[in-house]
């Protein structure tokens, strides 16, 4: 069951978690664990590994919630960044890419209940990012998306694209500048 929280409710629950409020911590978990588990499954492509990472993510949230500042970051961004970084840490700590349950199969177990965290994201912002990504060169756009969703590195992306590392970096760095400029307009 996914609890329904507004963005402000979630920020308050996270702040209360930082003060040691375990009820608030449970609210944060209920409202966001399906989304963060989705992030971990997407990057790790292995449910068991993703479970371990999810547990690690919330232990980290408990330990670091006192540093969360609602004025600096949306609660969903703060939480998703921890989940994404922890998943990538785990991915890169392994000798080789996991060969667990593939993404399509994992998606079959998706939570169909209303996703509070997703609702909290400003749709306008999502549309704006989407529009600005469309402005980029297709190669830069796909590389940035692949890095975000799969945790791919420059080296991996260059190898996949069959181009020198420097070329790939130039694509992406030009993409960063265009993206930032577009979002700030």
């Amino acid at each position: 069951m996914v609890d329904s929280l507004t963005r402000d409710d979630l920020a308050q629950a996270l702040t209360a978690t930082g003060r040691g409020d375990r009820t608030a911590f449970r609210r944060v978990y209920d409202a966001t664990s399906a989304k963060l588990f989705g992030v971990a499954v997407r990057i790790l492509k292995d449910r068991q590994l993703a479970e371990d990472v999810l547990q690690d993510v919330y232990v980290t949230v408990w330990n670091r919630a006192s540093t969360y500042d609602p004025a600096r970051a949306a609660p969903t961004t703060w939480l998703a960044t921890i989940a994404r970084n922890r998943s990538i840490d785990r991915l890169r700590s392994m000798a080789s890419r996991p060969t667990g349950r593939p993404l399509d199969e994992a998606a079959e177990v998706r939570d169909e209940t209303p996703d509070a965290a997703a609702r909290l994201e400003a749709r306008q912002e999502a549309g704006r990012l989407h529009d600005c990504l469309q402005v980029l060169d297709e190669r830069a756009r796909e590389a940035i998306r692949s890095a975000f969703f799969e945790g791919d590195t420059y080296e991996t992306l260059a190898e996949r694209a069959g181009v020198p590392l420097g070329t790939l970096k130039s694509w992406i760095r030009r993409g960063f500048q265009k993206l930032k400029g577009c979002l700030e307009r």
């Binding site: 664990s33 399906a34 993703a50 330990n63 998706r110 945790g151």
Partner: protein, 240 residues
Amino acid sequence: MSERDDIAADEAAERALRLNDGPADQALAARAAADPTFAADVEAWDERLSPLIDEIAPVLPPAGVWPRVEAATAPVPANDNRATRFWRGWAMASTGLLAASVAGLAFLIANPRVERDYIASSPDFQPVSVSTLMSAADPDMPIATITYDPQTGSLYVAPTMQMAMPENRAVTLWVTMADGSVHRVGVIDPNQAQMHEVSEEMQPMAAEAPLVTVSLEPMDQPNAPAPMGPVIATGEVRRL
């Protein structure tokens, strides 16, 4: 914007996306920890890219995850400290299969004085590099100090906090080279200060490595070429 500013902006985006691997990524993480301006730039990129999270389908986690989170973050007795909670957290966090082993955890105190006394009593030990291993779960929390003397191949490990050992896991030390390759140094004891003799094969790498890592490894895979279990701490190496 100057060329230097452009590079800094690129690096903030690279850190947010984790485009670099190994030492390059660690260096950006260390910079974000030390430079509030750079950290704010990274956070700004996290925020810009965050709408992409909407494209990831939620997946309902198993019911067993929350009880493990709850146990790993449970309040500890007044005479315990944050460090105890950290290690109990890691014992739980390493894998759900380890949950049953938590009841068997034993906590010991490593007195930092031991480190000074030990080194003082070992005149042949002349360390030239040192690394403070910081917790992966809490980058502000040091868990051990490692010093290395390349002349003798002696590696000194001094835990700086209370620790617990999950069953069937070996606390394993690794070095990461500048080219990103990872090499196993060996198993360390998290419960007491200790001196190790690094193998001759490993000594050149131990002398040059810019990064050290500690992970919890399965006991039945003592010769794994790279960490298989969770990384619990990392540290940059400083030359004395």
